[in-house]
């Protein structure tokens, strides 16, 4: 034990003993430090070795996923709506680069960067380093093929960079198809995981954010390529370890018609609204929402200024009104009320009432739109001239729950598409619904206004178009779709009695093509005729005071004006195309929506029938 005392007992022990004893203390120090080193090696090489192996591989290999080419989108005549540009860019791994200034300087022989660009990239790279440490960063400058070829040739002398080909979505008609096709933009992790894990960490990958681009993403997007490259510490490529070529996404053949879509957008002009045309089997030929935005702007990040401009616009250019705006259907619901009443044997076609200016139920006054009233009205006349009083009475007799049943069968209050992110479901109320969501019992007065499509009823333009198409096609259920590869077959028959159908179709025909019909002024005079029902949906309740003052719609602020609706189909003799037009705050249906429908239907006839005629 004496060795453990470093104190020197002077004069007692020899010098050599002192040295040995103190040497022993040193030995203890040596062995303990070796112990520390030993445990450090245990920690590094045994406990943490997995982690360090991973880090070592990350040092050594550069794994780059390549953006797959998105499938193109075509219209129903195989004309391109959305395609891709090939772009040549450089990708880098920011964590490899020690000095960014030197790096950009070393590229000056190949690429002309201006100082502002470099500063922008540097800022982005710093941010990238923090959030996506192990992913490639793409220098967002499009290079010419010559530049890329030059860089590729000299690659062994240019460290860090990795030339790459990627694809950039471009739309041939960025405004016309903006809503229905949608746009692509940078994804977030959650979105990518939903589509495929494989798509994680693909630099510069853009995914569909809405519209067809999003709905059919899994088919369009393709599968990313991947190359693994061995590099040294200076970022120089040594060899390609592996390479998997990406798979191009499937092309999407839509039912849309480029000509019709472009034309409809032109007709809508500055109006806020929507035009939908579908075949009576459900092939959607055009689906326009106005005003629109430029979808190409979103591909590489829209500027804040532009985006704010869109957001501030009260006509909401960013929203797809065809699928997501909700309107009371107004008088366009009247055919459905009539069908429901007929099918439920509540009334027959000869049921008549007398329409004076207004009627009274339970002490409450209900007005017809026509100040002097329509006189004696039967069903045909009620639809033709859109008599409100007639439908108040029919609705009262029918009751909301039976009307609800019919509306359900026609698809109101239900999604038209599956998984279309922007589509709204709308509301078709019944007594149960009100109890559940409003918490109050149903009032009979609400049934009465439901008869003219007001009150709680909220529908989207696409629902209305589907509804009228199902009336036009002989009363068969359809599944509207944008996908030309779908099977467009008639489903279940939802109007059981063909006589009833005939009454409705006749009524709609006279509503457009006979004098005093609501859309008579917008009729087509040629051989091919169309017909339909106008609608004017109120966005506010008209008080007695306002009624007395006789305030004209156009004198109101835009936001309070009525929506103008039209739903119809053509040709009358053999209905093949259904249309729904809605102009936000456009006033009465006959003044705005019907004339637009006339133009569109005339174009439909020109596009789909003219040639057959000539041939």
């Amino acid at each position: 034990m004496e060795y453990f005392s470093p104190k020197v007992r002077k004069g007692i022990e020899s010098k050599s003993k002192t040295i040995s004893r103190r040497g022993f203390v040193l030995s203890i120090a040596k062995v303990s430090f070796f112990g520390i080193i030993f445990s450090r090696l245990v920690y590094l090489q045994l406990f943490k070795s997995k982690e360090f192996k991973q880090l070592s591989d990350r040092n050594r290999y550069r794994e780059i996923k390549e953006v797959p080419e998105r499938g193109s989108i075509y219209d129903f005549r195989q004309r391109v709506i959305a395609s891709n540009n090939q772009v040549y860019q450089l990708s880098i791994f920011p964590r490899e680069i020690k000095n960014l200034n030197e790096f950009f300087y070393s590229l000056r022989n190949y690429i002309n960067f201006d100082i502002l660009e470099i500063n922008k990239f540097k800022r982005e790279i710093y941010r990238h380093k923090k959030t996506k440490k192990y992913q490639a960063y793409i220098i967002d400058k499009k290079l010419s093929w010559e530049t890329i070829a030059k860089i590729n040739y000299n690659l062994s002398n240019i460290p860090y960079v990795q030339p790459m080909v990627s694809y950039e979505r471009t739309y041939s008609y960025p405004e016309e198809f903006a809503h229905v096709i949608g746009y692509v933009a940078e994804p977030n992790k959650k979105e990518l995981k939903k589509i495929s894990e494989n798509l994680l960490y693909v630099p510069n990958l853009k995914i569909g954010k809405n519209g067809i681009e999003k709905r059919f993403e899994s088919e369009i997007i393709g599968s990313p390529g991947k190359s693994v490259i061995e590099i040294d510490a200076y970022g120089k490529q040594l060899r390609q370890v592996s390479f998997d070529e990406g798979i191009k996404g499937n092309n999407f053949y839509s039912t849309l018609d480029l000509d019709l879509q472009v034309y409809a957008k032109k007709v809508l002009g500055n109006e806020s609204g929507s035009v939908i045309v579908m075949s009576t089997k459900g092939e959607i030929r055009c689906c326009v929402s106005s005003p629109s935005f430029n979808a190409n702007l979103f591909t590489y990040g829209i500027s804040n200024f532009e985006f704010k401009k869109y957001l501030k616009n009260e006509k909401k250019p960013l929203s797809n009104k065809s699928l997501s705006s909700l309107y009371p259907p107004g008088s366009t619901l009247k055919m459905l009320v009539a069908i429901s009443a007929l099918e439920n044997n509540i009334v027959n076609k000869n049921f008549k009432i007398r329409c004076s200016e207004s009627t009274e139920y339970f002490g409450q006054k209900y007005h017809c739109w026509k100040e002097k009233g329509h006189g004696i009205v039967n069903m045909k006349k009620a639809i033709k001239e859109s008599c409100d009083i007639y439908f108040y009475e029919v609705a009262r007799l029918l009751g909301v729950d039976r009307l609800y049943e019919t509306a359900q069968r026609f698809g109101l209050g239900q999604y038209v598409f599956k998984n279309f992110i922007e589509e709204k479901k709308g509301v078709f109320p019944n007594t149960k619904w009100k109890k559940k969501y409003v918490g109050q019992p149903w009032y009979l007065g609400e049934t009465i206004i439901a008869g003219i499509g007001q009150g709680y009823i909220q529908t989207t333009p696409i629902q209305l178009c589907k509804m009228i198409a199902q009336i036009a096609n002989g009363g068969y259920k359809i599944k509207p779709s944008f996908n030309a590869n779908d099977q467009f077959l008639f489903g279940e028959k939802i109007i059981q009695n063909d006589d009833h159908l005939k009454i409705i179709q006749d009524s709609l025909n006279v509503a457009t093509n006979e004098w005093r019909g609501t859309s008579y002024r917008s009729r087509l005079k040629g051989a091919l005729k169309y017909c339909g029902k106008t609608g004017t949906s109120q966005v506010r309740k008209i008080t007695q005071e306002q009624r007395d003052l006789n305030i004209k719609n156009k004198d109101l602020p835009w936001k309070f004006r009525d929506h103008s609706l039209f739903t119809g189909y053509g040709p009358v003799s053999n209905p093949e195309y259904a249309i729904s037009v809605i102009i936000d705050h456009g006033g009465s249906g006959s003044s705005k929506a019907a004339p637009i429908s006339k133009k569109i239907m005339s174009k439909v006839f020109e596009l789909y029938y003219q040639k057959e005629k000539n041939a």
């Binding site: 040295i19 040596k30 430090f33 090696l41 040092n59 510490a233």
Partner: protein
């Protein structure tokens, strides 16, 4: 004549027998490992292995010469050797080669000599010689402290001027270990340590910016992963990724793809550990531990104070080399350019190590030599 011849041959074999074969075996084993690692590295310098091999041979011859000379001669030669190295250090100040922001080398034709390396052994010899005469109960007297402290301070100042903080502290540490061994009063050590602690913050202001940076980086290497901390991180990755059995010979991606700084000199242990893993590292550590242990054993055999102090000093010197180097490459200590004896590629360090081992062997052969 035949009898004379016989006696020379006999004498030679006798000497050969009395050489320390334990140490020689360890030297050969470590040299083989060193050559193996160097040849696995693709540093672009193709004759690295050849050069190192030649240096081993050359240093080994020096080792044999030093070992065969009587320890008494070395005892007499101690101050002279010390003086020569001091002179060389002064020459470095004037004619030194500049590299890595410091003047450390002298060009002597065959290779670049680093006198500060030689000083590590010179200071041990000088101190050992000084304490040969001092009686145990006079050690703590102030007049007996003047010379040893001067022997330490002069080279310390010269080396720190180069600037080479690492080597200076190395010399200081080894010299203090000699003072410790002589039985210097504990109070003096306590006093010294305390005054150093007080002086340390002051001395920081005299450090060069890169030296300050190294200390800061040591405290938190991840703070600056591409800058000064890069070496340590890469070294840790290399060692850690070796795992238990290593990536295999020639398979060290960290060392071969240049992620590792200087894999042939200061970071040679890392390159070894990456290829041979924990298993290899432990074997290497055991080899060095055995070497140190063997020198300690020889120290105790030595009859003279000079021999004892010299051997303990050399063993501590080896320990400090290994401890600092492995401590540095595993991230336990800051990065100061300290090589691993015998293993690292570097002329002077190799020579110094072999001279030191030669002296130890001489102390063993002439263990019964009385210096008085």
């Amino acid at each position: 004549m035949p009898s004379l011849n016989k006696s020379i041959i006999e004498n030679f074999f006798l000497k050969l027998k009395s050489l320390d074969w334990f140490i020689i075996t360890l030297i050969i084993l470590i040299s083989i490992i060193s050559l193996l690692v160097l040849s696995s590295l693709d540093t672009g310098n193709k004759n690295l292995v050849e050069k190192h091999f030649l240096r081993i041979i050359f240093s080994f011859i020096v080792f044999l010469i030093v070992a065969s000379v009587n320890i008494k001669t070395w005892y007499k030669f101690s101050y002279f050797f010390y003086a020569i190295v001091i002179l060389l250090l002064i020459l470095v100040d004037f004619y030194g080669l500049v590299g890595k922001g410091a003047k450390r080398w002298l060009d002597i034709g065959i290779f670049n000599l680093q006198p500060s390396e030689l000083m590590k052994i010179a200071v041990i010899m000088a101190l050992a010689r000084y304490y040969q005469y001092i009686k145990t109960d006079e050690i703590d007297k102030v007049r007996n402290l003047v010379i040893p402290i001067s022997l330490i301070i002069i080279p310390f100042v010269l080396v720190i001027k180069q600037p080479d903080l690492g080597t200076a502290l190395f010399i200081l540490l080894v010299a203090i270990s000699i003072l410790w061994l002589t039985g210097l009063n504990l109070k003096i050590f306590t006093f010294g340590t305390l005054s150093l602690l007080i002086l340390a913050p002051l001395s920081i202001s005299f450090l060069k910016p890169y030296q300050k940076q190294r200390i800061l980086t040591f405290l938190n290497p991840e703070n600056d992963p591409t800058g000064a901390g890069y070496h340590v991180i890469q070294s840790k990755i290399a060692i850690g990724s070796g795992g238990f059995f290593g990536k295999g010979y020639m398979q060290g991606s960290q060392s071969n793809l240049s992620f590792l700084p200087e894999p042939h000199t200061d970071f040679i242990f890392t390159a070894f550990a990456e290829q041979f893993g924990f298993f290899g590292s432990i074997i290497l550590l055991i080899l060095f531990l055995l070497l140190i242990y063997r020198i300690d054993v020889i120290s105790k055999l030595s009859r003279s104070t000079f021999g004892r102090l010299l051997c303990f000093g050399v063993s501590f010197n080896f320990f400090v080399y290994i401890a600092i180097n492995i401590g540095m490459v595993t991230g336990l200590l800051p990065v100061v350019g300290v090589p691993i004896p015998i293993m690292s590629y570097g002329g002077t360090a190799m020579l110094t190590s072999m001279i030191a081992l030669g002296l130890v062997t001489s102390a063993k052969i002439y263990k019964d030599q009385n210096i008085y």
